[in-house]
């Protein structure tokens, strides 16, 4: 007889999805820091794209407009890259976000100690538990990061309409905006997975005897 326990992939996804749905509010809070960080990332990058479009289409006038809108731009510059300042703020916000995710996920693992231990008593292997946590984080990461990216992009478009007038919307490179949203979503997924790694390993390597020991 084949002495192997198993958990089909489809079933893992189902369990992970149900677990998120059942703890929706908890998941929402875990994801919220990711949504905010990714929204900020996408807002800044989309804002740069818009400023770039303004620069391309308004000639000499553009420098004055952009400066008034708060962009650090030297007269004579031909493009707007991420400034060093922007880059640092983005990196910092993403770091804080990962720490937030680690914190929230560690709490989640502690809350679910008994559940994890019980699963192990029922025959779950370490990698089942790991897979469940990683799947949950992927679903949260995908949903949260996409929502964040959309929010960031939409806010950038709205605020630029106010700053530069509605004509700017006509000249925008929409494929690049879409690419920015896609990239920001990918970054968000990566951050979510990075944040769950340590908590998931901690959960997976827990001894089943803990399930018996937990007192309430």
């Amino acid at each position: 007889m084949d002495r192997l326990v198993e958990l089909p992939f489809g079933k893992s996804v189902e369990i992970a999805y149900k677990s998120i749905r059942a703890r929706f509010f908890r998941s929402l809070i875990t994801t919220l820091s990711l949504v905010l960080a990714i929204a900020f990332l996408c807002y800044v990058q989309t804002g740069n794209l818009i400023a770039e479009a303004v620069l391309q289409h308004n000639g000499e006038e553009a420098y004055r407009i952009l400066e008034r809108a708060g962009y650090d731009i030297e007269p004579g510059a031909t493009s707007i890259g991420d400034s060093a300042k922007q880059r640092w703020i983005i990196i910092l916000s993403l770091l804080v976000c990962v720490v937030g995710i680690v914190n929230a996920q560690l709490m989640a693992v502690t809350e679910r100690f008994r559940e994890i231990g019980t699963m192990k008593c029922l025959g779950a292997l370490n990698r089942f538990i790991l897979r469940l946590f990683v799947l949950e984080a992927s679903i949260q990461g995908l949903a949260g990061a996409f929502a964040g990216a959309m929010i960031g992009a939409v806010f950038a478009l709205i605020s630029s309409t106010f700053q530069f007038g509605s004509t700017v919307l006509a000249s925008l490179p929409y494929t690049q905006v879409a690419a920015t949203i896609g990239a920001a979503t990918a970054v968000g997924c990566f951050l979510s997975l990075a944040g769950v790694t340590y908590p998931a390993i901690k959960a997976a390597t827990m001894e089943p005897v803990e399930a018996m020991r937990v007192e309430e």
Binding site: V5, T118, M119, L122, G123, E207, V209, M212
Partner: protein, 242 residues
């Protein structure tokens, strides 16, 4: 023949825990043989090493020295996969705190061990419903644990423990969190499973109601076996207790 078959055998099991600088010897050499198909109660005051012994028997913990054989297999020799398989197929666990997975329905809780064992979804659902019917909860299969009473949760847990038709059911204070009547219901249910299905039931308890249905009672005191009483002797000693 089945009566003679030793499902669990421990030889001189010693377990020590490191508490800071001190070594605490919780089990001081326990040798036991438990025959298949019996209903065993492990009794003892808290701190007697009862739970530790219980965890050893369940393959949840490994002894410091000595050996634990489950179905003549030394559990110290098993790797993680084999241990998981053992927990999944050979042993059913029942906990004092029920330990149902809170996000799953009663039916999903019962079918989870079957999924782990590689049972197809349809078959698992069918067998899960049958088990819930056995414990009298078929009509509540779609309820979450939070929507069930303590006694009902424990009955779901009994159904879950039986999911893969294990040879052994380990029950750690199964009636500890239940009132008198529901506790009795669970005890009777376990006894019924033991007689109908020939499952070996081992339960750690200090509930004297358990003694009435036990075939054998193992008393643990200070990390050692104090005495082992068979059913026949038991009635007399209960008489003296009460």
């Amino acid at each position: 023949m089945t009566e003679q078959h030793a499902i669990i055998r421990t030889t001189n099991v010693v377990k020590t825990f490191q508490l800071g600088r001190h070594q605490l010897e919780v089990l001081k050499g326990i040798s036991l043989t438990i025959a298949a198909g019996r209903y065993i109660s492990i009794m003892g005051p808290s701190g007697s090493g009862k739970s530790t012994l219980f965890n050893m028997i369940g393959g949840l913990d490994k002894p410091t020295s000595g050996k634990v054989f489950i179905d003549e297999v030394d559990i110290a020799q098993l790797d993680a996969y084999e241990l998981a398989w053992l927990r999944c197929r050979k042993i059913g666990y029942i906990f004092q705190t029920f330990n149902l997975i809170p996000v799953m329905t009663a039916l999903e809780n019962v079918t989870l061990p079957m999924i782990f064992a590689g049972t197809g979804n349809d078959e698992a659902v069918e067998r899960g419903m049958e088990l819930l019917r056995t414990v009298g909860l078929a009509d509540r299969h779609s309820h979450k644990p939070s929507e069930l009473s303590g006694g009902q949760q424990q009955r779901v847990a009994v159904a879950r423990a039986l999911a893969n038709s294990p040879a052994i059911i380990l029950a750690d204070e199964p009636t500890g969190n239940l009132d008198l009547t529901t506790g009795e219901e669970i005890i009777n249910l376990l006894k019924q499973m033991s007689t109908e299905r020939g499952v070996t039931i081992i339960s750690a308890t200090h509930d004297f109601k358990m003694l009435n249905v036990s075939d054998e009672v193992i008393w643990i005191r200070d990390g050692m076996v104090d005495k082992i009483e068979q059913r026949e002797e038991l009635n007399i000693s209960i008489g003296t207790i009460e």
